[in-house]
Amino acid sequence: MSSGTDSLPTPGREVRPGPSRSSSWSRVGGLALLLTFSQGLTAADLGSSLRELQAVAAEGRGNPAANPAWRRVAAAEARSLPTLLGAMDGANDYALNWIRAAIESVVQRELARSRTLPTEALLRFARDTHHHPRARHLAFELVGRQDPAMHDRLLPEFLNDPSPDLRRDSVQALLNEGVALATKDKPAAIAVLQKALSSVRDADQVDAVAARLKELGQPVDLPRVFGWVHRWRLIGPFDNTSGAGFEKAFPPESIIDAAAEYEGKTGKVKWREQNTTSDYGIVDFNQPFGALKSVTGYAVAEFWSDTPRRAEIRLGCKDGWKVWANGKFLFGRDEYHRGYEIDQYRMPVELQKGRNVILVKCCQNEQTEDWTKEWEFQLRVTDSSGTPIFSSR
């Protein structure tokens, strides 16, 4: 699993794919002039009601107005489903759920009345990568509700789709096919699974595909598939007695000086190189520093980009941690030893052209149980679909 379906929010800014609200609404508005969407509900009513749903925000802001608007939207007819899906473009996570619930209500009612869903329009919507990835996936699910055979027939075309969910479903179909072939036609199974491996993004599916290929005698370069940042410099230990080190800013939070030497918890400390070759990109502080407790360490990596671009830093860590990119604090969390996994935390980041500096603070606490030994993390840089981005140097 992931940190949820979305990355951690950047304060004051919602990062969302898809066209801006104004562009999506120009399309909705155009349709609104032509169509009446249900008995007693004009296109203008529908448009204004959808705007109420789009206006919901954090801490329930907009909920009171959204409630009656939702009922009006949910009264729409099946032919308006592409319009409802289009309203997801540029919508925040709260609004997505309001609109989705209205769509489900429409679909349930219309199918109960033995009416058909507009399959062709839904398919066009699903294929249009300008739309919100989740709206596209939902559109394709609705195609499947109306015509399961069409859904299954067309699923392979989404194998390299920017929508993580469409891609996932398509990869799963290939994985199932590869598994089914394994005992009957080994070369064919390998070919299918290699194809899946070239498109897979979700960690659980990577492991599933790699395991099947391994059973068939095919090695998989997991560090390459995941795209771990593997070249690091570490410094530590600094103090973290009673967890106080999490909030304390030790020198690396002010300046990264590869030649510097600082006073650590038990003496002088300085940066040292630490490259990881682990399949899962584990950067292990215990390895150079020993199995210490109540300590803080830092890891720094250079990440080179040919162009400025939006990306995600994806972290897995079961210790207390903080992450900075180019000196900007992204997120931190003081939870210890509750578990970790690939892509546990997703942080939006703006990579600059050339050299970028990623700094990770990793705090170990005082627990002594066997399952609290790990003082480590894993990190990769990806696009929003989970496709690894590799440092250009």
């Binding site: 699993m1 954090a58 329930g60 709260y94 509750r338």
Partner: protein, 405 residues
């Protein structure tokens, strides 16, 4: 009410304790939060013919079903990241799906492998169904599936999560939905307006992972309070304001939850500690027993007996007057689900899906019958319509008398 008889009723303990009527199973551990439905006639002799119906569910979950009249509400999660949050409404009589709604999680969905995003149980006030998930998404729907409001508490407060998963169930008291999101980092409990979902109040809470559930009760003065249990102990708060009425600070478990009976709170603290809230805003400690140690399952009180089930299947029975342990009975298997009671019996479901019906009146307790459901079951069952409702990651069963259809 005739004011003249009020003191008599208070003195008899008749107004003290649980809040809700028992007709429906409105939240985790039932309307009263005590896991008991004394009026239900669930069979004591269970067998394969006791399965009235079973149906596949739309995803994984350990949340208890909520039952109102002829409708059974169940929450689940699905998807590779368990990020599809589902609320389903089934027909009580035959398990027919009436409607379902799916939402995208806005908070983190990582959990321990035994559970999933649908760990907290939903609740109802008779007007709406309120569903809560490990991602801290909270949704209100009317009984026909119309969306009333949506909150992404995991999006609003992004460090409020637990990498093992959150599991505190909702409670609804006098128009306020109590949502507990207590964890090692951004730890809080919020009171949400049941009509709009907006914050009525929000409390900073101890920074420690906590899977217990808020427990509403009415004290001897007739005031409704909500007990919030944590590693620090328990606090009784005013559900309208979140303000503390009294505080017990001697520590408590973070897994099994407090229950109540006859005006007393049974708190999983230092074993089991019994508190009696007074009329002056305080409380009295009645007794404490280190021998009574609930595991994951919450304690259950039947008459003058209190029961604690540990994770290894040892069911301990004590006298409610002094905490003296009366007997222990070893049940089969390991347990996460809280026992529920109907007709004076205890229905205990182990993690292997074996339902064991216990006669607690037998001298050392006795298992009356068993029913194997052959699926992993972590969630606490519900009771309504003379039936037991049990859910796994894959199925929902109604267990009762087939003639009750």
């Amino acid at each position: 009410m005739n004011a003249s008889i009020l003191p008599l009723l208070l003195g008899a303990g008749l107004l003290i304790g649980p809040l809700s009527a028992r007709a429906d199973w409105t939240q985790f551990r039932g309307a009263a939060g005590d896991s008991v439905d004394p009026s239900s006639r669930v069979p004591s002799q269970l067998g394969t013919n006791s399965v009235v119906w079973s149906i596949p569910l739309g995803g994984r979950g350990i949340a208890s079903p909520v039952i109102v009249a002829d409708r059974v509400f169940v929450t689940s999660s699905s998807g590779g990241r368990q990020d599809r949050l589902k609320v389903q409404c089934f027909q009580l009589s035959d398990g027919t799906l009436r409607w379902e709604r799916t939402f995208w999680a806005t908070g983190r969905t990582m959990t321990h492998e035994k559970i999933s995003s649908a760990a907290p149980s939903p609740a109802t006030d008779g007007r709406a169904i309120y569903a809560f998930f490990s991602s801290n998404d909270c949704v209100a729907l009317d009984f026909d599936g119309n969306l009333l409001w949506y909150r992404g508490l995991g999006r609003d407060y992004p460090n409020a999560s637990n990498s093992l998963g959150m599991a505190s169930s909702l409670s609804v008291v006098d128009g306020v939905v109590i949502a507990q999101a207590e964890n090692d980092s951004e730890s809080f409990t919020a009171g949400l307006d049941a009509r709009t979902g907006t914050n009525v109040w929000k409390l900073d809470r101890p920074k420690r992972a906590n899977w217990t559930s808020p427990f509403p009760f009415r004290d001897a003065s007739g005031k409704t309070s909500v007990v919030l249990q944590s590693s620090k102990g328990v606090v009784a708060i005013d559900p309208q304001t979140g303000k503390t009425r009294w505080n017990y600070g001697e520590g408590a478990s973070t897994v099994p939850s407090t229950t109540a009976s006859a005006g007393r709170l049974y708190v999983p603290s230092n074993g089991l500690t019994v508190l009696e809230p007074g009329t002056n805003g305080g409380f009295t400690q009645v007794w404490r027993s280190a021998q009574m140690r609930p595991g994951t399952a919450s304690p259950v009180v039947l008459g003058n007996r209190v029961f604690a089930l540990n994770d290894g299947g040892i069911l301990s029975c004590a006298d409610t007057q002094d905490g003296r342990r009366l007997w222990q009975l070893r049940l089969k298997g390991s347990f996460s689900a809280t026992p529920v009671s109907a007709g004076g019996r205890l229905y205990c479901v182990n993690e292997e899906g074996l339902v064991q019906v216990v006669d607690p009146e037998a001298p050392s307790g006795a298992v009356l019958s068993e029913l194997a459901l052959h699926e992993t079951i972590i969630g606490t069952p519900s009771i309504a319509a003379d039936s037991l409702f049990v859910r796994s990651d894959g199925h929902l069963w109604r267990i009762g008398r087939n003639s009750s259809l």
